[in-house]
Structures are given as C-alpha cells and as structure tokens.
Amino acid sequence: MKIGVCVKQVPAKDAPLAIIEGSAWIRESDIGFETNEPDGFALEEALRLKEKHQGEVVAISMGPERAKQTIKEALAKGADRGIHIADDQFYKLDPLGSARSIAAAIKNENFDLILTGLQSDDQGFGQTGVLLAELLGRPHATIIMQIEVTDGRMKLKRELEAGWFQWVELPLPAVLSIQSGINKPRYATLKGIMAAKKKEIVTVPRASLGVPDAPTQHVERIYVPQKTKKTEFITGQPKEIAAKLIEKLRHEARVL
C-alpha cells in the first residue's frame, strides 16, 4: 500500500501571536513551529496501515524551508521519504490553491491512499483532504475513527455529530481525513531519528508546478476578536480569588 500523508507545520500551541499591522498574518520571526497536532494522528494511522499491509509512507508538506523539519519528524517516526512543496508565502494561498498545489505535486505518485488531519490549528480551513479527492478524482471520507482495509476496499468508521457514528465502505484509491484521537501517536526513537538522516526529501518549488494563481478568496486582515461579553477578572492571592469567586457566583450570578 502506497500512502501519502499531508503534514503541515504550524505555529507552536503556546507561541505568542503578534499580528503584523495591516496584514493578514503573524510575525513568524520570534516564534517556534511544530507539526500540526491533527496531522500527527493521520501520520500515525499511515504508519500503522503500512505495518499491517506493507508498502510505503510518504510525508508531504508545503511551506517555507522550515517546513522540512515537520517532514524530518515524520521520517524519524517511520515515514519512508518526504516531498517538500516549497513556498515562502504559502500562507497566502486559499484552500483551493493549496489543494491544487499539493495535487499537482503528487499526481504522478499514484498513492493508494492519501491521509490528512482534520484541520490545521492555524488557518483551520479543514478542506484540504476533500479538495484533494475532488481534484485527483478519488472518493473520500472525513472525520475517520477507524480504518479496515480488505481486498482493495476500506470499511471506515465516520464520526457524526452528538455521539453518532456511521460505517461506510469506500474503494481504493481514496483520500481520508482523520479525526483527532483515532490513535495514540508514537514518539520518534533515537534509532528512528538516526535512520531519518538517510531518508530522501525531494523539494519541489511550488512555482514550478504550473498551478494558476487564481485565488477564490482573500483574507483581508486578521485581528484579535472583540469580546462579546464583558469578563470580570478576579485577581489576588489564590485564597482571595477563591473567596471572591464563590461570593460572586453565590450572590451576584446566583448560580451556587
């Protein structure tokens, strides 16, 4: 089974976000980056499928030079090789532009299965998997909690809302978006980290892919959201805070 897994590098969870005035992005120079957490579940699922059905796992990431780190981490965990779609300004792409670029970069790979995470923790469009399927002419399913592969078909457990699930069947090749929490992602071992140094990462400049620059949408600006509620902040020593908060909940909000 030849599996492609899309992994994105995003600002670290606790990174302070400084919005560049008058722009639609944040200052990248002073913050750390990490692999998008939902993509970690997709990678883990790809590695488990390979262990069960043999084959190859290819980690695909788009972004500036720094995105290679996310590919290296995937290789250290057990992916076989990487494809880096290089673009310093990839954050300006709309979801369709991103998906068109990835589709163009991998079209000759003929993956049996392409996995993505549910959404990215930065832009959070949550469309890449579905769009890749449409652009590559493959069937898809999203929010997947279990994958069983038999004879070129998959039986999948999809999560629906409010505690409901559904089994669906799909033929291969296909594209799946994985629900976070489907598995427990492994850590890279020292041996894995050493082995990763010998693994291949092919860099494809996005500009070389011939994807037309035709955005369907434009982020005009990003900003810290205005509060919808006025929050009363309670300050002091822990004991004072506890007493004040209980007092407020009892006599002001009258909920205790």
Partner: protein
C-alpha cells in the same frame, strides 16, 4: 443578491443549524435586496420542504431521489451541483455541520469555486460581503472576501445566528418546486452503512444545572479527582473538552463541544480550557460562565463572565477549602 440555502436533515429530522443559517440568509437577502431559495435534499422529505416553506423565502426546492436517501459526498455533490447550475445563485449558504464539511468544499470545487467555511459572522459594507471566521483556534478572527466570480459558497458555524430570529413567511407559504437531477448508482463510490451510537449516554449533561469542565490545563489523569471534588461540593457534574476524552481521562459521553454534547447550564466552570471554537459552540449558551486559565489571551475569556488568570492547581484547592468551610459552618 440571489441566495441558495442548502438545509440539512437526516432520516427526516432537521439539523437545527439549518435554521440558524436561514436566519443569516434572510438577513443578507434583506440587506442586498435579493432573493432566497431553500433546498431540501434527501428522500421522503416533502414534509420538511413544506415546513421550510412556512419561513420567509421566495421558494423551496425539493430534491428527492432514492439515491439521496442516505448521505454520500458523491450523491449530494452531483445533485447539488445541478441545482446550482440551474438556479445560478450568487451565494450558496450552508450550516457548517460535519456533513457540510464532508461535501461542500468538493461541491464548490466541482463548479471551479472556493468555499469560505466555518464563518461566525458577516458584514455587508459598501456593497461588499465580508465573512468573519476564526483562525489560530479562535485566538484571532479573520475578515475574508470572495475574489472570483459567483457562485460563492460559504458556511456558518453552529451558534453564529439565532434560529428563533428566522422570519416566518409573510403571505402564508412559499411555493415548493421539485427539481429533477440526474444521478446514477455507479456515480456514487461510497457505500453508506448503518448509523450507531457508541455507548449509552450514562449521564445526561444537558440536564445538569452546574458543570465543572476540564481541559488540557488539568495536565494529568491524577488531577481529575480534584475537579470532581469541586463538582461534588458545588452540586454539579464533571465534563471535559475533547482532548481529555481522547486521552481516555474521562469517558467520551462527558465531552462538550461540536463532537460531544451541547449544554446550557446555570453555571459552566471551565478549568484549564483554552476555548477552541469546537468546544465553545457546545457551551456558549450557558447562563454564567467562569473560567480559570493561565493564559490571559485564552479565547475562553471571550465568553466568560468571570475570569481568573492563574494556576488552577492553586485556586481550585482554595475554592474546595472555602466551600468545605462554608458548608461546615
């Protein structure tokens, strides 16, 4: 502006977010002096189309086929693409549900367009529609506009608009029109099988007057009893954000948010919850919200009435002590 609203039902029951999006659509129609058509898609859903026709819109389009009885991304995209091509709307609006995120980007791409998904609001300024969505897990908002030609496709998050503000039809009922679509079984590659629920919901959190909710900030399963003790003293139930249930620290049926339960208790007390949108949609209707988080910029404070920026491992034990003291007294 000509708007096409695509509603959602499953097994003849509405997904109620459809009516929130209807309220948004009606508002945009009013501001742009446009028209509104609502789509009901499935099989055996004429009664739902009739019900929708009682709302303020210009027409209801009923798309019924045996092959649309169960949702499939192929079936729904192919059918709705034909509706879009026939109606030629400027704007297609959908509720941002799990089902919509499964097919709407594909539907938009099939007509060569993009989708602005998961919007929380819109603004109509100088003849331009600006959609507002969240980025960085709710830590920033973004103003997004469509740049290409219509049709444009956008979805609104649950809770973004109020369903009870959707207007009834002024003159009785809107006409219901059946729309024929071409669809063949071999075009549908997904085989949908049974729907099921994992575990019996042991606890109905929607009925609890007080909920103490824990998030990543609780750090380890050993710390859950601390929150449980507080819940007991306050007469509430314990619940959690998704990562805690994913880790197995609390059972899945105690999860609040878009993939768990939606609650509106008297008091919702969030401990170490950052307030990602997926969580907030499940609890923002609570009467009073209190939150403790070490990050003063955590989005949970946007919906909180009372906020404490600090260490929950210092404040919660102090609250327990205070509650025990007053109880004993």
């Amino acid at each position: 502006m000509k708007i096409l609203l695509i509603t959602e039902q499953r097994e003849g029951k509405w997904n109620k977010v459809s009516f929130e999006t209807l309220a948004a659509a009606q508002q945009i129609v009013q501001q742009t002096k446009g028209t509104l058509a609502g789509v009901v898609i499935g099989k055996g859903v004429a009664a739902l189309a009739d019900e929708l026709a009682g709302s303020q819109l210009d027409e209801v389009l009923l798309v019924e086929r045996d092959l649309l009885e169960k949702y499939t991304p192929d079936g729904f995209s192919l059918a709705l693409r034909q509706v879009i091509e026939a109606v030629k709307p400027d704007l297609v609006l959908l509720p941002h549900t799990y089902q919509v995120r499964d097919f709407a980007p594909k539907l938009a791409a099939s007509v060569g367009r993009g989708m602005i998904g998961d919007c929380i609001a819109y603004r109509y300024e100088n003849g331009k529609l600006i959609f507002v969505r969240q980025m960085f897990q709710g830590r920033t908002a973004a103003d997004v506009v469509f740049t290409g030609d219509a049709p444009w496709v956008a979805s609104f998050q649950a809770g973004a608009f109020r369903a009870d503000l959707a207007a009834k039809h002024a003159g009785g009922k809107a006409p219901v029109k059946s729309v024929n679509v071409n669809l063949a079984a071999e075009q549908i590659r997904t085989k949908p099988l049974e729907l099921f629920r994992e575990a019996k919901q042991a606890v109905d959190l929607t009925q609890a007057p007080i909920l103490i909710s824990v998030g990543r900030g609780i750090k380890a399963p050993e710390n859950i009893p601390l929150a449980e003790k507080l819940a007991k003293l306050m007469g509430g139930e314990i619940c959690a954000s998704r990562p805690i249930c994913d880790e197995g620290w609390l059972p899945m049926d105690r999860q609040i948010g878009s993939s768990g339960q939606t609650v509106a208790p008297k008091l919702y007390f969030a401990l170490g919850i950052s307030g990602a949108i997926q969580h907030v949609v499940g609890m923002k209707g609570s009467r009073t919200i209190a939150a403790i988080n070490k990050d003063q910029n955590a989005p949970i404070f946007e919906v909180a009435d009372y906020g404490v920026v600090g260490d929950l491992f210092e404040i919660v034990p102090a609250m327990i002590e205070e509650l025990e003291k007053t109880k004993a007294g």
